[in-house]
Symmetry: D5
Subunit: 90 residues, 10 copies
């Protein structure tokens, strides 16, 4: 997930949208739907792992992101690896 904020967006609008984004993300993390999130060094971007029941739910979560219209998102479908040992890497 890359974020591209237009450089002429008013500062007030930016801080508001970022606050809502953070709350939204943390709610989903606490619910277990958004299982992992990491920052990519040197970029305004992240790598996230979602645990959803289907693509319908995934899209509803992603398109609900306050920053969605400024994001470029690539979804990679993952599954449990046959060599995985941790129970929750599913």
């Amino acid at each position: 997930m890359n974020v591209n904020l237009p450089h002429d967006l008013p500062a007030v609008e930016v801080s508001d949208i970022l606050a809502r984004e953070k709350a939204y993300s943390q709610d989903l993390q606490r619910s277990g739907k958004w299982r992992h999130i990491w920052r990519i060094a040197g970029r305004y971007a992240n790598i996230s792992i979602f645990d959803v029941s289907d693509n319908e739910e995934l899209h509803r979560l992603l398109s609900g992101l306050p920053l969605f219209k400024f994001m470029e998102i690539e979804v990679m479908p993952l599954l449990r690896h046959p060599s995985a040992v941790r129970d929750d890497d599913r």
Copy 2:
């Protein structure tokens, strides 16, 4: 990590290398260095998260993979995201 096995590799050599790859990966997972691994749907490839002290250690682990010479690996440097809530997403 993508794997490209030459199609003319003898079957015995293939099964031997895959067995060693699996043991190697599971040892590192149990030690906590290889924190997560997922299969990418439809491809002979995986997405993995490593928890290492520096690039030196990361390269030693990766270049020690029995499948290393058949792999195409891209490393993306990650760090804790400011919105992360799980203690171990570091």
Copy 3:
């Protein structure tokens, strides 16, 4: 799904693998898991739509393809479009 058959594969092996591929594909189509398949004009490739319960099932179906090791597959996660009118475009 692109297919790249090595040009030095014996003709007998080729016709055998293609026969098994066709039977495998048609069984899955009849079961409803492999909902659609189209040939791409001018290429040895197809566009297919799968209707599976999760990524685990999708990968099991794809990696079971007799031609799997000669294929380059890209999976695009789809869902029902809000403007869709047909019941089975899900």
Copy 4:
């Protein structure tokens, strides 16, 4: 079909164009010309299958889309696959 709406388009203009787009798409779906449509998870984009008599008709349908000037469209020419079992995958 990817959609890129300029972020400074007035909200009224956006909701008007989206309503016209939906009506246009559903009319064509009901006529059978626009056979399938799916949303791509995490993106403002879709995958669609058209059943038209020639490229002339296809272009007339696509260039008539209310969102056409904000879209990036790639057309892939498809045909019936020799292994297809459904009568209407043509």
Copy 5:
């Protein structure tokens, strides 16, 4: 249409396949199905215009090329341009 002949193909096989390719192409040109063909300077490749009734026919013509398995083909769907003045640019 790019052609990639393996450099270890026997010379006899090469000259035979090229002769059949030329005959096949010229038959289709005379029938009017293969309307135009140009060589691209400096490459073993061509740009061709086909005049076919549908994608089914196009694929049958292309996959029948003696060089088909050594070719990389990209099909671009064309139609009459609204500014065209020549009757046969359709």
Copy 6:
């Protein structure tokens, strides 16, 4: 030749430039310099074949296009194909 009109260009300016573009193109087609033109399905783009004496003339024709500053043009140098049967595919 792809055309990218800025979405904020006044409608009057757009219709004026398009009328001049059409007249310019048709004059060149009638003179035989612009031998063929086709629309690419689903895109605001065309494929054209020019018959000019050298690159100097080609550039003069292209840079004289009223839409030139909004276009992205790729020139591919063509010549008569050894298998061509039509006299004017040169």
Copy 7:
């Protein structure tokens, strides 16, 4: 690190941000964190080598750059090469 300054940024703002960028970079170079920096000929871009304890520190340094929001940065994780002879190429 590529820099893309919007061409309509006021000249005063530009010279201010460039002065702060230079001071920031030179402080880090003197501290030893920013070990090397070279200009890429013909481009407004540089190649830099950082010597940091982890990705966390690297991202803090990079995201603190006054030009950060106008930059496109790609981080490549490096380590000591087994053939290196200089002590400080680590």
Copy 8:
């Protein structure tokens, strides 16, 4: 060297900058530093050969171009070819 002039740049500013660009280029050509320049057919771009003592000098010449901030430049390091026969292809 590609040139991308913003389409909303005032006409006076454009003609001024182009006049200065031409004078700058011709001075360097006469001095022998800018050995060759060709227009690329159909594009607002050129291919140039510079004969400079080092990268420092090359960058000084390029970044001094009046159009520099509107250009995308790729530098390819060249040297005398072992098969060259002309004395000044160095």
Copy 9:
């Protein structure tokens, strides 16, 4: 022009083909058809300028290269630049 020699080509065949390539190139340079040639630093590749009457002649020269079947060639159509001062940069 990039050259890719298969690594299993016999050494005798390699030296023979390289000798013929050099002679062929130097004959064309002396005739004035092959106006310039430079080596690209660090690659088995060159940048060349040809001065030919049309694409037909260019292709005949290029496809006659002894190394032609091992080369990847990209032709860029050039013309005299309006700012050029040297008579022979045409």
Copy 10:
């Protein structure tokens, strides 16, 4: 600099070529021509900085590498950055 060793190269030939490569690289490092070298984590590749008098010398050093014919090398022309503080970042 990426290295691609064919997987069917005899082990004896591989160890011999790697030994010669290491000696060659270390001689150049000691002479000051090959100023820096780093391994890229997870890949059989390196990033190197050369300090040479011109492209001629650079190409002679690179094409003399025992692994040269198995390498893919990209040269980026660098120069002293105006913000550099270290004397030897030139």
